[in-house]
Symmetry: C2
Subunit: 195 residues, 2 copies
Amino acid sequence: MPQTMRIPATRVRILRAAEQEFARAGFHAASVSAITKASSVAQGTFYIYFRSKDDIFRELVRDIGHQLRKRTGEAVAGLSDRLRADRAGLESFVGFLVEHPGLYRIVQEAQFVDASLFREYYVDIARGYAKSLSEAAAQGALRPGDAEVRAWAIMGIGHFLGLRYCLWQGHAPAAQDLDQVMDFIAHGIAPEPRA
Amino acid sequence: MPQTMRIPATRVRILRAAEQEFARAGFHAASVSAITKASSVAQGTFYIYFRSKDDIFRELVRDIGHQLRKRTGEAVAGLSDRLRADRAGLESFVGFLVEHPGLYRIVQEAQFVDASLFREYYVDIARGYAKSLSEAAAQGALRPGDAEVRAWAIMGIGHFLGLRYCLWQGHAPAAQDLDQVMDFIAHGIAPEPRA
DNA sequence: ATTTGACCTGACTTAGCTGTCAGGTTTGAG
DNA sequence: CTCAAACCTGACAGCTAAGTCAGGTCAAAT
């Protein structure tokens, strides 16, 4: 490890190149040499800043988690209407996916590189989300119900929304698609209004 | 390719060994030699029956898709109550995951081995599911709404249910967890009954 | 018993990648 | 200007694994 970080730019250059390379080629096909080539450093320099290919990959996954949580948190902040906040959260998430499809690929691949990191990634998101839902339910802004279950369910909906539209079709779901999704989240599919 | 399939058992032996090996080690860490060793054939024999490591992996993914659709279809068959059918489908899915966690891993990893195959896998499931939901809605068994959106949403819910309980905790979700999930699917989270 | 060709063998070729290391370069303090 | 520490270099050792191929084995037909 460099002691003084005299030139922290090198570390960042390597990180950014790794992000691109992992996004492009996937974890296994990405090679450290490609990363060093893209960041214009020698092979050995890589190992000054990162212990291994796994190591830098893990750092990237954590980075992405932070980015995503920050962005979503900001998108939702200050929205008093709970369902509007949920929608804003989804919109923010799919926006991120459209802008950075490769980054989500990295997150998904983490499942096979470091399973516990992958799990943490989602558990962290779920924790924060469940807390919000739980508070909203306590204030009567939502129907009573298990906040954890709801958090994971909505994350699942978001995940597949992202797969289907952002990653496979290359664009965010249209407003009317999100309307339908929010209708499902708000009212479900049962035929009758509840008693 | 063998012409006569005099001994198709060899092919099946290799397939089963590959299933185990891919499930255990993942696509990249799985080696053809491990597969041939486990199935007691020589390295070369593998390439008589399969073009490449990718090739056998793809065949397995398709197999798993068939298995899962068959199983879920049977679980749902004959259930007239639509929400009960949805629940049975989820139960069947999580049951499969608990019994064969490795197989779901294979499906998920397909994303990085053959993206279009992975996409097909889900599109196929979604197509069938949306059809059912659409018919149910037409008969008034469900509130009107976009069947495709609902199909993908419920698939997402199932996916994360599987991750959280089956793959990470090693057991199917408890009945009361599924109750909560079904409550969400049936009625959503909005506070008031709809007008 | 012989023959045929389908089926199987496993050492080898080829390729590529991770992580190392002995030595070169740069920086800034004195 | 000098020097020492920090930083960087890139060729290479060591390893692993996919896919090949020349030849061996075996069952059944004649």
